[in-house]
């Protein structure tokens, strides 16, 4: 499901608007129907991240917990368990650099340090312009072209430090590969 990307001002969770409530109710109900009564929380979370600028604001999770008839603590426990989900605001694009064995051996540390320099942020941080969040990732399963990274859903392989500016520029202007 494609949802409009609504970017929120970072940091402060805003109270939910009627529009938000309506959106969340529909999202949870559609999910319930699609999954024959057994909610798929992960799908809901990914839809929410898509809608709320790659992160899950607290008030939104609270409302979802209420709609899903679970406790906010339970839902928060779920969300914080999975490294790909985030309750802190992230940039428009999430860069995931594969840090597992085969990529490590073929140069992911150098790719990471180049990205740190190019973006001026460390792992887990977001650039001041709100464009990119830099993260490490577990194996992306395209080890044949390591080192690799993934920005949003697009993967890039056989990386050298020289490729990075071009990839970042393309993402900034909204392109894919």
């Amino acid at each position: 499901m494609e949802l409009d990307n609504v970017t929120r001002p970072a940091d402060q969770p805003q109270p939910l608007s009627d529009e938000d409530r309506c959106f969340l109710r529909e999202l949870v109900e559609t999910n319930r129907v699609d999954h024959h009564g057994r909610l798929s929380y992960m799908d809901i979370m990914f839809d929410l991240e898509h809608h709320y600028g790659n992160s899950l604001p607290g008030p939104v999770l609270g409302e979802v917990a209420r709609l899903a008839e679970t406790s906010p603590a339970q839902l928060n426990g779920f969300v914080t368990f999975y490294t790909m989900l985030s309750t802190t605001p992230r940039g428009k694009h999430v860069i995931r650099v594969c840090t597992s064995g085969p990529c490590h051996v073929s140069g992911s540390p150098a790719i990471l340090s180049s990205l740190r320099r190019l973006l001026g942020v460390d792992i887990g941080e977001t650039t001041p312009d709100g464009e990119f969040t830099l993260e490490g990732s577990s194996c992306l399963g395209i080890c044949g072209v390591s080192p690799v990274l993934m920005i949003d859903d697009d993967a890039y392989g056989n990386l050298t430090a020289d490729d990075l500016p071009r990839i970042l520029d393309a993402k900034r202007s909204g392109g894919a590969q």
Binding site: M45, Q74, M84, R96, S138
Partner: protein
């Protein structure tokens, strides 16, 4: 009338190497030549030789073009298809003999493989259910639905198929237990949470042959009496999710999923559930909790999922590669399946070759193939004329196979005897430059990160082991560390809750077993024999080789190197951070690393 087919590998790796733009060029050139109606362009799943991508194969000849780029893709149309001339520059050249290979049948990487699980990967368009059916797809489902469920399970038991996820538990027994379990409804689950770093066979099957998994799960549903299946795929594999979702839709449309499949009254449907970056979810009980919308923490077995799994109901859970074997076993029978492989581990196994080896990618070989065949004949040996040191199998849960076992047939039991595990099939080749202490530390660091924290031995124990390993690699190893590591490792193995913790010490134990001398060198001599552990290295300049070119001094980020032009340079050891940039920059081999 179609005269040629162009198979373009659209596996995950080839896509990153520019497959989409290559395909666009091919389509454009076909149009320019007015032969777009005669030549069909088909995007397939992964062909396995990921380092040769993007790959284009021209049929009916089977000409295998590798490393195709936007610039030279046009030659395939203008030369091969229009003028009938093979494009020599795009053929694979065998490094040893310098011979050019025309078809994949001429490339050693392919000739030694036996493709069963991967038989459709790279051969058909994964988005086309018709192509799957044309390769006898869904025949097994039809056949199974005419059999009694017990008969299906009997065939599986006879086939001797063992779970390809790692432990090698007999699949037939799992199915039998799930069939006999009391409780309703029952569930069929496919474990596609392929977290083992460097293993990507499940990804390839989900992306390249999704219908084989759908078919197998439907057969499983019929055999155990379930109407509902879940496929758990990691969010790191967006393409797999997309193609599988599409395949489910097609299977429903064709009546292979849904109500009264093939008019038999048997109902079955499948849903995808997504994982989001938690390695422990590959453990079956953790995976089931994750599907339920909970934290993916494991639980004590028994009860096994077959008795009490998803929502406490009987659940059959197998991994992707295991399911991919099922339709062919049903179609061809148990005897056929046993015709390759070893007696106790029949069939084939897919390995993901990676690390210091010439040819990387996915290879499927009979169980019982030796490491020598895998690394040297299929993998093409070690690059740069270096020596083979060991192969790491089973990822963070496994250990190493050393050079003395190169001729040992590899199957579930033989690798276990030497202290490693088959795992999901990741095989990372290490050359003589690898430090085994560092390798073990790396894998242990992975487990520390991925431990879910539910049980103490895994959460705290692996962390303590990691601290010790770190100390050893930093040159602060103490007398008795090896014994302490081994003792703690045994406790963690014995007392952890799930497979993750129970196997976490394996990389350390296995490397201590075979490379205790390296551990001793680190601890007692404060030396890293392979010159990998940074803190145990010293860089110095050999006076007779230094020409005073100043290259190293200019590269040194901490200005630790002094010396005038054309005079011998010196490294100030108190300033040196051992980054190695002087070693990289010296063109005269004057920097000594020891």
């Amino acid at each position: 009338m179609i005269r040629n087919q162009l198979l373009v590998c659209a596996g995950g790796a080839c896509i990153t190497s520019g497959e989409k733009s290559v395909k666009d060029v091919l389509v454009d050139e076909l149009k320019k030549n007015g032969i777009e109606d005669e030549v069909q362009v088909i995007e397939t799943g992964c062909m396995g030789a990921c380092d040769l991508g993007p790959i284009v194969v021209v049929y009916p000849e089977g000409t295998f073009y590798q490393k195709v780029t936007v610039k030279n893709a046009g030659l395939i149309v203008n030369e091969h298809l229009v003028k009938g001339r093979t494009v020599g520059e795009l053929l694979y050249t065998e490094p040893a003999s310098e011979k050019r290979a025309r078809t994949s049948g001429d490339i050693p990487f392919y000739t030694r493989q036996v493709k069963r699980v991967l038989r459709n990967c790279g051969a058909i368009d994964p988005l086309s259910i018709e192509e799957y059916i044309a390769r006898d797809g869904y025949f097994a489902l039809g056949k199974a639905l005419e059999m009694a469920p017990d008969e299906i399970i009997r065939i599986l038991l006879d086939s001797g198929l063992r779970g390809r996820g790692g432990a090698g538990f007999p699949t037939g027994l799992k199915w039998k237990a799930a069939r006999e379990a009391a409780g309703s409804p029952k569930y069929v689950v496919c474990n596609g949470d392929e977290g083992d770093p460097g293993a990507f066979m499940d990804r390839s099957v989900l992306e390249g042959d999704p219908h084989s998994i759908i078919e197998a799960m439907a057969i499983a549903g019929y055999a155990i009496g379930a109407e509902k299946g879940y496929v758990y795929v990691r969010a790191e594999y967006p393409l797999a999710i997309e193609r599988f979702e599409y395949a489910i839709g097609k299977a429903r449309e064709y009546g292979f999923l849904g109500r009264s499949i093939l008019g038999t009254g048997f109902n079955f449907d499948i849903e995808i559930r997504i994982g989001a970056g938690a390695f422990v979810c590959g453990e079956e009980t953790a995976l089931l909790r994750s599907i339920e919308g909970k934290r993916g923490t494991p639980s004590v077995k028994p009860p096994f999922p077959a008795q009490s799994g998803l929502w406490n109901k009987p659940t059959l859970i197998n991994n992707v590669e295991t399911y991919a074997n099922i339709p062919q076993i049903i179609t061809n029978g148990a005897e056929w399946f046993r015709s390759v492989g070893s007696t106790k581990s029949p069939g084939t196994k897919v390995f993901a070759l990676a690390g210091n080896v010439q040819n990387t990618g996915l290879v499927e070989v009979p169980m019982g193939t030796t490491l020598r065949e895998l690394v040297f004949e299929i993998g093409g040996g070690i690059p740069g004329g270096k020596k083979f040191k060991a192969a790491q199998t089973g990822g963070p849960s496994g250990g190493v196979i050393t050079a003395e076992y190169l001729d040992m047939p590899i199957d579930f039991d033989t690798v276990k005897e030497i202290g490693t595990i088959m795992g999901s099939g990741g095989l990372i080749v290490l050359d003589e430059d690898s430090c085994m202490v560092d390798v073990a530390k790396f894998y242990l660091g992975f487990t520390v990160d991925e431990s879910c924290g539910k049980c103490t031995p895994c959460r705290e124990g692996t962390r303590q082991m990691y601290h010790m390993m770190e100390r050893i690699c930093d040159g602060n190893g103490r007398d008795g560390d090896i014994e302490r590591l081994s003792k703690l490792a045994d406790v963690i193995k014995d007392t952890s809750l799930c497979g993750l913790g129970q196997s976490a010490p394996n990389p350390v134990l296995s490397t201590i077993r075979f490379y205790e001398d390296e551990y001793r060198a680190h601890i007692y001599e404060k030396k890293c024999p392979s010159h990998v552990c940074k803190h145990l290295l010293t860089y110095s300049i050999t006076p007779d080789k230094c020409v005073g070119c100043t290259a190293c001094a200019r590269q040194c980020p901490v200005h630790a190197i002094t010396g005038e032009v054309k005079k011998i340079h010196v490294i100030d050891q108190s300033k040196c951070t051992k980054c190695g940039s002087c070693y990289e920059s010296c063109r005269f081999g004057a920097i000594r690393k020891e």
